[in-house]
Amino acid sequence: MDWNTIFITTVKASIGLETVVYALAAIGINIQFGYAGLLNFGQAAFLGVAAYGMAVTVATFHLPFWLGIAIGLVATVVLAFLLGIPTLRLRADYLAIVTIAAAEIVRLIFRSVQFSSVFGGSDGRQNFSGDFFAMNPYPPGTYGIGPISFNERVTWVLTVGWVLIAIACGLVYLLMKSPWGRVLKAIREDEDAVRSLGKNVFSYKMQALILGGVIGCLGGFLFALGQASVQPDLFSTEFTFYAYTIVILGGAARVFSPVVGAAIFWVLLVLVGNTLSEAVGAGLLPSLFTVNNIGAVRFMLVGLGLMLLLIFRPQGIFGDKREIALDAR
């Protein structure tokens, strides 16, 4: 058992690319689910259309990088409208089914052979991150403390990522203290009461859906740039489920809980994964466990964790039991 490696990879996972991406996706879900009570199970699609919007603009049509970002953002907002208009007037579980279906539609179109000249099929798109890394202010080298360090490219991606997370958290904090945020929380608690006060509930829900989608889509950009490629299967429905696990783990309707939740989630996932694979390598586990199937064990634990959290501690680590949307309608 190489505890040193396990320790280093685990610490790196706590601030790594996955944590950043999932934190941004989870902040978006926290606005939608935590504050507004909307069950958007299609967050992966929001990240997907943003990442593909940028990647396709740059890699397929050879247009400028910033135009790609703009197109990604526009695509996210359009998707939010498309999903929101039919479902936001209906009960919570309809939105869940429609968004999950939409996310599958988006993924299937991205990976289809039919459109592979645009989206690149199941191989996705590469060669679009040049302009982003050309802006990298860090000279080549490694940055960090001792063995816990990243090269200049990863450092640049992580810097941008954590700055975006800070901005997003600040925005959520200010918004939720504002009258707008109070209306949103009121909608979560009792939609009819808010409507009786003359507020346009549909419009507020739509704004929450768009805002959550846009914050999530920043994660999509970073996911694509950090890996310098996009693949359709990165944006499967499981992505959304993990992001929900993160929100519930941290505690819904708290500003920082998605970030802390993402860090804890990835630390646990990497720790369990590496420990198991080291244990298999050292022959410490029964022969039922092999290098090929221990990956599944980690995600079994995710599912188990999600169930246990909701049954025994629905408010997560930091949440307030009175402030969670689980009793919505």
Partner: protein, 428 residues
């Protein structure tokens, strides 16, 4: 440091591998049957090349006229029939179509048809452009048949889902795993233990029912009594679905596999439809089960009670119906018919750990189209969805047929959210 990087890369690689879903069935291939006036033509050489002209493989048709060339991945391929190997007296109908350019989609086998005629009757391709497919009505009939086949499987799954929703309000995202569970059980008995598939299926359906009963007795029932909210239970069902799916992956592995029996049945021709006999028998069983469940819902005391509970649990309870008992029966029957649906699905595709999840969205589409919470609505909606998926391949590529069905789901939400047989007040 170096090892850390390697470990981390390996971890990321593993993650990408895990997150990426395998295709429906593995192994893309090109295949076909050469026939001249209904008689198989053997000994004809057919070669396949990639788009850039690199040869992929070749095959010679057997005594039944069949040939098959596996290809490495989805993409466009050139299929060439070597005309010098055609028996004398037989010629290609269109001389300029000895090489066909075809598209192979992810995970599917592509049928390639060469039209043959007695020598001397060949014509130019321009004369009849749709020559490589049977008549359009033949295709419609074939696709309608396949649509019913799929629709009945969806309907079996949808019945349970819809009744559970109607009686408990739970949108159960783990319902797909009930299908996978049934298929996995049957696979275990059939392939690992060597029990004939029919017996294995019967055992699996019983175990599936027991699984449904256990889930309600020890899990969902307890949660209901604790007063867990519906949204919480919905997310719990997602957790349960993930948990079960990765247990299946752990024991079964990521590759799909067929049952041991009824694998390679030669197709039979019934009117315009050609299908393996197992499909007809499977459809018969599915129809029989659906009719049985439907009659039970309409005629038996338990069925009437179930519909009453689905209508209004509080009122049903106050009129003396044992609501928890009824719900438990629904879970048991729902689990059993879901297991049957899984076995039927495994019979028409392969058994794989994601099969249930992949069809779950179609089940939701069927249930929503019919009206959430109504048993007969689910039946009608599912068959419409199945038909729509297969018939849509007339105009959209096969790989995108699911997209059409899911789009319909969204459109139904827009224009008639209560579904075909649903009632307005449910959607509020």
């Amino acid at each position: 440091m170096r090892r850390a990087v390697i470990a981390f890369t390996a971890f990321l690689g593993g993650l990408v591998f895990l997150l990426s879903s395998p295709a429906w069935a593995d192994g893309e291939a090109l295949k076909g049957t050469l026939q001249n006036q209904g008689q198989p033509v053997n000994g004809v050489k057919i070669s396949v090349a990639a788009e850039d002209g690199k040869p992929v493989g070749d095959a010679t048709t057997g005594a039944d006229g069949k040939w098959e060339v596996p290809v490495p991945k989805a993409g466009r391929y050139k299929v060439t029939l070597d005309q010098s190997t055609l028996p004398s007296g037989i010629a290609l109908k269109f001389q300029d179509r000895a090489t066909l350019d075809v598209q192979v989609y992810e995970g599917s086998e592509r049928n390639v048809l060469f039209a043959l005629v007695p020598a001397g009757q060949e014509g130019a391709a321009a004369a009849q452009s749709s020559s490589d497919s049977p008549s359009i009505w033949g295709r419609v009939a074939q696709l309608t048949f396949e649509g019913f086949n799929l629709g009945l499987i969806i309907a079996l799954a949808a019945m349970g889902l819809s009744l559970v929703f109607g009686t408990t309000g739970l949108t159960n995202f783990a319902h797909g795993e009930l299908l996978t569970f049934g298929a996995m059980c049957a696979y275990f008995f059939n392939v690992v233990l060597g029990i004939p598939l029919i017996l294995a299926a019967v055992i699996s359906v019983v175990i599936g029912g027991a699984f449904g009963y256990t889930q309600d007795r020890f899990f969902w029932g307890r949660l209901r009594r604790r007063g867990s909210s519906l949204v919480a239970m919905m997310i719990i069902s997602i957790g349960l679905a993930l948990f079960l799916r990765y247990i299946f992956l752990f024991f079964f592995g990521g590759e799909g596999a067929p049952f041991a029996d009824y694998n390679a049945q030669p197709g039979v021709q019934v009117g315009p439809i050609s299908a393996a006999p197992k499909n007809f028998i499977a459809m018969g069983i599915e129809l029989a089960v659906l009719v049985l469940v439907g009659v039970a819902l309409l005629k038996t005391r338990v069925g009437k009670a179930a519909r009453a509970v689905a209508d209004n649990p509080a009122l049903a309870a106050s009129s003396g119906i044992n609501v928890d008992g009824v719900i438990r029966i629904i879970w048991t029957v729902g689990g059993a018919i879901a297991a049957l649906a899984g076995i039927m699905l495994g019979l028409s595709q392969n058994v794989g750990y994601q099969m249930g999840f992949q069809i779950l969205l179609l089940v939701f589409a069927g249930v929503t189209l019919g009206g959430l919470g109504t048993a007969f609505g689910a039946l009608v909606g599912s068959i419409v969805v199945g038909l729509f998926i297969q018939l849509s391949t007339l105009v959209v590529p096969t790989e995108l047929k699911t997209v059409g069905a899911l789009l319909v789901l969204i459109l139904v939400m827009l224009f008639r959210p209560q579904g075909i047989l649903g009632r307005r007040e449910r959607i509020g």
